[in-house]
């Protein structure tokens, strides 16, 4: 298959105009020695029907959430994506445009991104946001970067932060003078606020709320302690919780980051997702990535532009705070449509349904003999950790045979912990079915 439209006549005419004999001659700057002598080691091209057939066969070898009932979480969740999201975010005028450098030709994307920023600020009750980052993990790195000082090189991360987020933060912190210290969790699964002491080398404290076990964290206290110590609080939040849980801005958080997949984006085996970030006004000039601002045109009519570009790599180059260029705009468009679809009442209902269904699931699953909550004391949102009587990975694999993705094991904690996520999609019937299957597997 080819998408170049050239006919033999076209090529001949164009070569004539250039004054060269053949297409291959256009490549004579390439030194002989490095020129490819043979064809690339790839199969011959195929037709559209062939690739559709092949890809369908690959897709058929996956077991999807249409087929296995999905209780897996850990920053990616099986929330429902309403039809309007695909219908609108899927429009080709959005999909096939580049970053809106020419504002007059891109008011559509620019306005959606302005609305996206407005939504993120409204959800978090923080002042500024941006046009998206790659995902939740890279958003945390960027968020920590905003508030880090060289004279306060330590970053304290609570053990309730998702391990993949911590791994990513370690990767991006490694080449810097900063260090990442992980604070162990208390026995009840939440962060001990005492662990944050008045060390003058701590620049940032990072907490995830709800944490990796779904547990609600004492963010207000952590923020107070961090601020008292002269550090900033970076919070990893769950956007679907913010209809029912107090927003980062009200908790004292300085920079809030999140994985935005839950907002109208497909699971898609981990990507493309989007990173959300919001911060207090004072950090606006240290924000990473594109930011859309409202202004007026030559006639005084309102319009939107990319603004504060002097922060970015294409202007500031090696002095830029971030290297991000291509971001996740199309996912941000989907998230915007999704949030518009939800509305404030829908956001509240979403949170409420997740919390209620998760509570029901916790009680149904712990009614199975030998199954307990790993942290029985702590209140949780839409995820919770089970302690199983046997190896969690084995149970998970056995439940796949019964049509269920039971959750995500936490081998870094112990072999018997399984973290279960429950969204608004999970019915009572599915939850009861999970409990029965679990009982069978453990019998």
């Amino acid at each position: 298959m080819r998408f170049a439209p050239h006919t033999a006549d076209d090529v001949a005419e164009m070569l004539g105009r250039i004054g060269i004999g053949s297409v291959d001659d256009l490549f004579d700057q390439i030194p002989e020695d490095v020129s490819l002598r043979d064809a690339l080691d790839l199969p011959a091209g195929v037709s559209e029907l062939d690739i559709v057939r092949d890809m369908r066969a690959f897709a058929g070898r996956n077991r999807s959430a249409d087929d296995l009932v999905c209780f897996a979480g850990g920053q990616a969740y099986d929330h429902y994506v309403p039809s309007v999201v695909r219908a609108l975010a899927g429009r080709s005028e959005f999909a096939t445009s580049y970053t809106p450098y020419q504002f007059e030709l891109a008011q559509g994307v620019l306005q959606v991104l302005f609305e996206f920023q407005s939504f993120v600020c409204a959800l978090t009750e923080l002042d500024v946001s941006n046009a998206s980052l790659y995902d939740g993990a890279t958003a945390l790195s960027e968020g920590v970067n905003i508030v880090s000082h060289n004279d306060r090189p330590r970053v304290l991360v609570t053990g309730g932060v998702d391990p993949r987020l911590i791994e990513t933060l370690r990767t991006t912190t490694a080449p810097t003078d900063r260090t990442v210290d992980v604070l162990p969790l208390a026995a009840d699964g939440s962060t001990t606020t005492d662990a944050v002491v008045d060390d003058d080398d701590v620049g940032a404290v990072v907490v995830q709320h709800p944490n990796r076990f779904g547990i609600l964290e004492p963010v207000r206290e952590l923020a107070q302690r961090a601020h008292h110590a002269g550090a900033s609080l970076v919070q990893v939040f769950d956007p679907t919780s913010l209809g029912v849980l107090a927003p980062p801005g009200a908790l004292g958080t300085d920079v809030a980051v999140a994985e935005g997949q839950s907002l109208g984006n497909d699971l898609h085996y981990g990507g493309p997702y989007l990173g959300l970030i919001a911060a207090r006004d004072e950090h606006v000039r240290k924000m990473p990535g594109r930011i859309v601002g409202e202004t007026v045109d030559a006639d005084g009519a309102p319009g939107y532009v990319l603004t504060l570009q002097a922060r970015e790599q294409h202007i500031r180059r090696e002095r830029a705070n971030s290297n991000i260029c291509t971001n996740q705009t199309l996912m941000a468009i989907a998230a915007t449509v999704y949030l518009a679809w939800l509305g404030p009442e829908g956001l509240v209902e979403l949170g409420h349904q997740c919390a209620s269904r998760a509570a029901y699931a916790a009680s149904a699953l712990t009614s199975v003999d030998g199954v307990d909550l790993r942290f029985p004391e702590a209140p949780f949102f839409k995820e919770f950790a089970l302690r199983l009587p046997v190896d969690a990975a084995g149970v998970r694999d056995a439940l796949v045979e019964r049509g269920i993705v039971a959750g995500v094991p936490a081998p870094d904690v112990d072999d018997r912990t399984l973290v279960v996520a429950v969204t608004e999609r999970r019915t009572r019937g599915e939850i009861d079915g999970y409990a029965e299957a679990l009982a069978e597997v453990l019998r």
Binding site: V11, I18, Q107, G303, L330
Partner: protein
């Protein structure tokens, strides 16, 4: 032609969703709660829901349909944005990537349940290695800039692993902004290498900069002027002799597909922008994907986890990689984008990809010949490859019309403008990349528009200064945007 692709919006065209909100409206619905209702503990509860718009489904659909139509894309017209490779994004790639068998898979499902996706990723990795001449590749980086960081971290780890850390990375002055920014983030110092009068790396000054603190050189080839670095063999010999590594910024890979391979030129690390070379749609700013290939000696440093194939042919993730630079994405990268890249690569096959570079270069050279009649090319000693840079410097001197004015006039004449003011080494730069998917007729029409705009610069310069006039908005006040920051909706003062 297609300036018309952007419709005007009328009186309330710019109303945001907040402006359209009416209390009590709502689009969303949920299943009846069939379990006991539970409230979050009061000390954690939100006091009042966020101030979000309340809107019904039809108004929502109209709002975003209208905004979509206020946007220029490859599907609506020619998009010769230099360095961005805005080629046709095949619809079939959308079809295959949106298969629920791919789209509804959770990233933390057991490997055994995702063998289809894993095999696609494995094959794509092999194809990328075949195309670039690398040994293995990571598909984790979600964009080119992140790929740069991954590659530079591997460069850093490589030197550290040998016990001799190095602190500097060389970058030509024509490089893209992400290159120096990534170098800094990877903990290196960026050292600029001059271009010579050909627009190529000045090998003499390069040699002068090489020492045993140089970790490596980052190069785009063809470079951002669209010119092939013909001294690449000597460059790579020198850098390697000095103990450094060579990094290939793949933004311009489209020019050389199937013609030569970075690995054969001596590069050790290569990133690919799938949203350029492999036609994955750019989505108004993203997503992309930035796979990074490396030579064998760098394999231990690849981001973890790494995909492995067992003897029985099954695939699994290996996270036990002691020398890995670590993780650069929460999961496995932009998998949905990689599926599209897979479809693109395997649709084309070996011959098809070679044809891509041939016709991309043909289109650029043909268009350069036509545009060259109106505006001088920036460095014309070398024949450009897949893109070329013209300059409006003389025009500006003679008429006061700047590259930006030409760009805006092109909009009124129906075209998306080229990249302007990049690369920085060219004043009043207009960087034109037509790509291989455009017809000769389109190139002819664009060149005619360009000629017309340039000639108007002398006869009716105000027409260019005032352009565009056919778009939903006219030129926007960027200074005001930066001064009076309005970065989110706020309730109008009442």
């Amino acid at each position: 032609m297609t300036g018309a692709a952007i419709r005007s919006t009328g009186p309330d065209g710019f109303a945001t969703l907040w402006d359209r909100s009416r209390p009590g409206r709502r689009a969303s619905t949920f299943p009846v709660l069939d379990v006991p209702a539970v409230e979050v503990p009061p000390e954690h509860a939100r006091v009042a829901p966020p101030v979000m718009p309340e809107i019904g489904e039809l108004e929502l659909v109209r709002h975003y349909t209208r905004l979509a139509q206020m946007n220029y894309g490859v599907d609506t017209g020619f998009y010769p944005l230099g360095s961005c490779t805005m080629k046709y994004n095949p619809k079939v790639a959308e079809t295959v990537a949106s298969d629920p068998g791919f789209a509804r898979v959770h990233p933390l499902q057991p490997d055994a349940t995702v063998q289809g996706t894993l095999e696609v990723l494995w094959r794509l990795e092999r194809a990328i290695c075949a195309i670039t001449g690398m040994h293995r590749a990571t598909l984790q980086p979600p964009a080119g800039a992140c790929g740069e960081l991954a590659g530079l971290l591997m460069m850093r780890a490589f030197h550290a692993d040998r016990g001799v850390p190095r602190s500097k990375v060389l970058i030509p002055d024509s490089a893209h902004g992400t290159n120096p920014a990534s170098v800094r983030l990877a903990g290196f110092e960026a050292v600029s290498v001059k271009s010579d009068e050909r627009g190529l790396v000045d090998v003499g000054s390069l040699e002068g900069l090489l020492d045993d603190d140089v970790a490596g050189l980052m190069l785009t080839n063809p470079n951002t002027l669209g010119l092939f670095e013909r001294d690449i063999e000597r460059i790579s010999e020198r850098v390697h002799d000095a103990g450094g590594l060579l990094y290939y910024d793949g933004a311009n890979l489209n020019a050389i597909l199937g013609r030569c391979r970075p690995g054969d030129m001596g590069f050790d690390i290569v990133h690919i922008n799938t949203h350029k070379t492999f036609a994955t749609p750019h989505g108004g700013g993203g997503p992309g994907a930035g796979p990074v290939g490396v030579v064998e000696r760098l394999e231990p440093f690849l981001p973890a986890p790494v995909l492995t194939q067992a003897d029985d042919g099954s695939f699994a993730w290996d996270a036990d990689r002691p020398k890995s630079v670590g993780r650069l994405h929460g999961f496995h990268g932009n998998v949905g984008v990689l599926l599209r890249a897979y479809a693109y690569v395997f649709l084309h096959g070996a011959d098809g990809l070679r044809e891509v570079s041939g016709l991309a270069t043909l289109n650029a050279n043909y268009l350069a010949a036509l545009v060259g009649e109106a505006l001088p090319l920036a460095f014309d000693a070398e024949r450009p490859m897949h893109e070329f840079v013209a300059t409006a410097s003389p025009l500006r001197r003679e008429t006061g019309v700047r590259a930006m004015d030409l760009a805006k006039r092109l909009i009124d004449l129906g075209f998306h403008p080229p990249t302007v003011y990049f690369p920085l080494v060219v004043q009043e730069a207009l960087m034109v990349e037509p790509t291989e998917t455009e017809t000769k007729e389109t190139l002819d029409a664009f060149a005619a528009a360009m000629r017309r705009a340039v000639s108007e610069a002398s006869t009716e310069p105000e027409r260019l200064h005032e352009a565009p006039t056919t778009t939903p908005v006219r030129r926007l006040d960027e200074a005001r945007a930066a001064r009076q920051l309005q970065l989110r909706w706020t309730a109008p003062a009442s």
